[in-house]
């Protein structure tokens, strides 16, 4: 039923056995089997809880990249009414790695931005696996400026391995596009709330995550470089990704401790993909709370955001 990760093997075995028994029970329906299933279900639940209580950073990286994990489109579908996608950077192209548009969040007009990785071959190719090109960031700038003009808050869902490392992307100024997007985030005077829902990959992530409030899902990761990238540069061995993941402190818990993010949104036992609806609802509640807090009278959100980032690292 699920795509199990390697470290979930004990749970996978129990759950496979449960499924088998349930199929058998469909034919016989004996009391003994029912009891056995109930016992196994408790064991599986406990095993899963135990496992997810103390995930290593590398295991979290795998959960953050889980193919069944809810993606940006799922959060938009679950939280935004009247979502109206808007396309194009007005300069060169439309970049479908970045979801962009306006809609209503619990009745309030909002601007939505986020990277979308896709969930099957076709959508992954269309979304370029969530790796934006310069056009994606320039489109983000355009929408942020539009939100500014109409005094509309911006919500971003961050989920990317990183900005796309391609020839065309470089020629068209990937670095500049990222820098301008970060700058646009910093200069917005309406509330900006970011949620790292899966992978926060380096510059490609910060370009959309320079927000008044930044939250991470419990098993999301956020890093200056992928653990694999760091391993191959620092250890000359990409197999040391596990060590890089631990050493670089990439988990939501680490970032909370380093005061880089404002909070951690709990995931269901077994990860967001075990109960996407619950994950999305909790995320919605967090966004709601943040927007309420930020919408107070007389606040200079641009100044606050600037000071918030300047304070990072000075306060640890």
């Amino acid at each position: 039923m699920y795509n199990y990760l390697d470290f979930e093997k004990p749970v996978a075995e129990l759950e496979t056995r449960i499924t088998e028994l349930k199929t058998t029970m469909g034919e016989t329906g004996s009391v003994d089997v029912k009891e056995e299933i109930a016992g196994l279900e408790t064991r599986a639940r406990d095993a899963l809880r135990e496992l997810y209580k103390s995930l290593t950073p590398w295991q979290k990286a795998q959960v953050a990249r889980h193919p069944d994990r809810p993606h940006c489109v799922d959060f938009v579908k679950g939280l935004i009414d009247d979502f109206t996608p808007l396309a194009g950077d007005r300069k060169f192209a439309e970049d479908e790695a970045v979801i962009s548009g306006f809609g209503r969040f619990r009745g309030q007009s909002v601007c939505i931005l986020g990277q979308e990785k896709g969930n099957d071959t076709e959508s992954r190719l269309k979304r370029n696996f969530g790796m934006a090109r310069p056009e994606g960031y320039r489109k983000a700038v355009r929408l942020i400026e539009l939100a500014e003009r109409f005094a509309i808050p911006v919500i971003t869902f961050v989920d990317t391995t990183g900005a796309y490392p391609g020839m065309g992307a470089e020629e068209r100024g990937q670095a500049e596009a990222i820098a301008r997007s970060t700058q646009a985030c910093l200069n917005l005077s309406t509330p900006l709330v970011s949620i790292v829902i899966g992978e926060g990959g380096s510059g490609g992530a910060i370009a959309l995550a320079t927000a008044n409030r930044v939250y991470m899902l419990e098993h999301a990761i956020y890093s200056v470089i992928s653990p694999e990238g760091a391993a191959s540069i620092l250890w000359h061995d990409s197999a040391r990704a596990k060590d890089a993941a631990t050493g670089m402190r990439i988990t939501a818990q680490d970032l909370s401790e380093l005061k880089v993010i404002d909070g951690v949104i709990p995931e269901p036992v077994g990860g967001a993909h075990r109960n996407p609806d619950q994950t999305i609802a909790r995320t919605g509640d967090q966004i709601d709370a943040a927007l309420r807090e930020l919408s107070g009278e007389g606040r200079d959100l641009k100044q606050e955001r600037r000071e918030k980032f300047l304070a990072i690292g000075r306060n640890i």
Binding site: A163, Y164, P165, G166, M167, A169, E170, E171, R172, G173, Q174, A175, E176, I178, A179, R180, T182, Q183, C185, L186, N187, S202, G203, I206, A207, T210, Y222, S223, V224, I225, A230, I233, L234, W235, D243, A244, G247, M248, R249, I250, D254, L255, L258, V260, R306, F309, L310, I312, G313, I316
Partner: protein
């Protein structure tokens, strides 16, 4: 003990012991392979005289060659947490830092200087590539923020000499946070109406190009400098194609609209002075022709009388 240990060994020891002459008196031009005597190279601002190849230049030599009277005041920079993540790869990060401090005589990769450019007071920040690849961590980020604040305080233009492989992995997410931090500082400079000139030198990539190095009012690059977001190798692996030879060079970037001009090192002083004076609506420097000749002479004599801080050529 015999006559050999008593008599011969001291002579051999003295022969080998006295070799405190740098072992890199001759420097090879990476382009033509020509061997150039180090003195000749230093006198020519680390530009190979015959080929015009721009070698990496130590920060002290850079600042002296750029500022009036080869004089600058180094700004005292705030201290930042050392090794906030307690990071180690094949080496402990603290050991690495010590090593580079000993080797370069610098605290970290960015130096901020106060000085004058053809009588116009300026603040200059300069990366030293020999310090951990000029990488951007908390110290470098804080240096840039401090430099910009100083420029605002003294109402001076800010000039950035970038040379960096990107964010410093050993400081993880705290390095990535230097992207929005420096961007916020650049915005503050802009709001004060002060010019921000970026000189992109070889190489400027990763997180540095994706933030302050691509947010200048004017972008100038030195000939042949490699400038980009992703590394060439990463791109080749992603697209599985060979990239053009001039890919990501200053000239290539200029052709793709990312730079205002490509200027040889010898001409940076008059060029930037001229731009600043135009932007600030100041008259041209008193007797520009005379000053320019003067500058060349002064700078040449500077490098013959004073040795650069780091007494070895940068790696090519």
């Amino acid at each position: 003990m015999n006559w050999i240990t008593n008599y011969v060994r001291p002579r051999i020891n003295s022969m080998f012991g006295k070799r405190d002459i740098p072992d890199n008196l001759w420097i090879k031009c990476p382009e033509t392979g020509e061997m150039v005597f180090h003195k000749e190279l230093e006198d020519n601002f680390w530009v190979i005289p015959s080929s015009g190849y721009h070698m990496k230049i130590p920060v002290d030599a850079r600042l002296k060659s750029f500022l009036d009277d080869q004089w600058y005041e180094r700004l005292k920079l705030p201290s930042v947490p050392q090794d906030p993540l307690k990071f180690r790869d094949v080496k402990r990060y603290t050991d690495r830092l010590k090593e580079y401090r000993n080797k370069t005589g610098l605290d970290d990769s960015v130096v901020v200087a106060l000085g004058s450019l053809e009588d116009l007071p300026v603040v200059v920040a300069c990366h030293d590539f020999t310090f951990m690849g000029g990488s951007l961590g908390m110290a470098a980020g804080e240096a840039i923020v401090t430099g910009i604040m100083k420029a605002i305080e003294f109402n001076r233009p800010f000039i950035m000499f970038a040379a960096s492989g990107g964010a410093r992995m050993q400081e993880g997410i705290l390095s990535l946070m230097q992207l929005p931090r420096t961007t916020a500082a650049v915005d503050m400079l802009r709001e004060k109406g002060l010019p921000y000139i970026v000189v992109l030198t070889n190489p400027t990539t990763g997180g540095v190009s994706a933030s302050y190095a691509m947010l200048g009012d004017i972008h100038i690059a030195e000939p042949g400098a490699v400038i980009g977001f992703a590394g060439k190798r990463v791109i080749e692996q992603t697209i599985r194609e060979k990239l053009p030879d001039d890919f990501q060079t200053a000239e290539y970037l200029k052709a793709h609209g990312m730079l205002d001009m490509v200027v040889p090192r010898h001409e940076l002083r008059p060029t930037i002075s001229r731009i600043l004076r135009i932007l600030l609506k100041m008259p041209p420097s008193a007797d520009r022709a005379a000053i320019e000749t003067d500058v060349q002479d002064d700078a040449a004599s500077a490098t013959t009388t004073e040795k650069p801080a780091a007494d070895q050529p940068a790696a090519a």
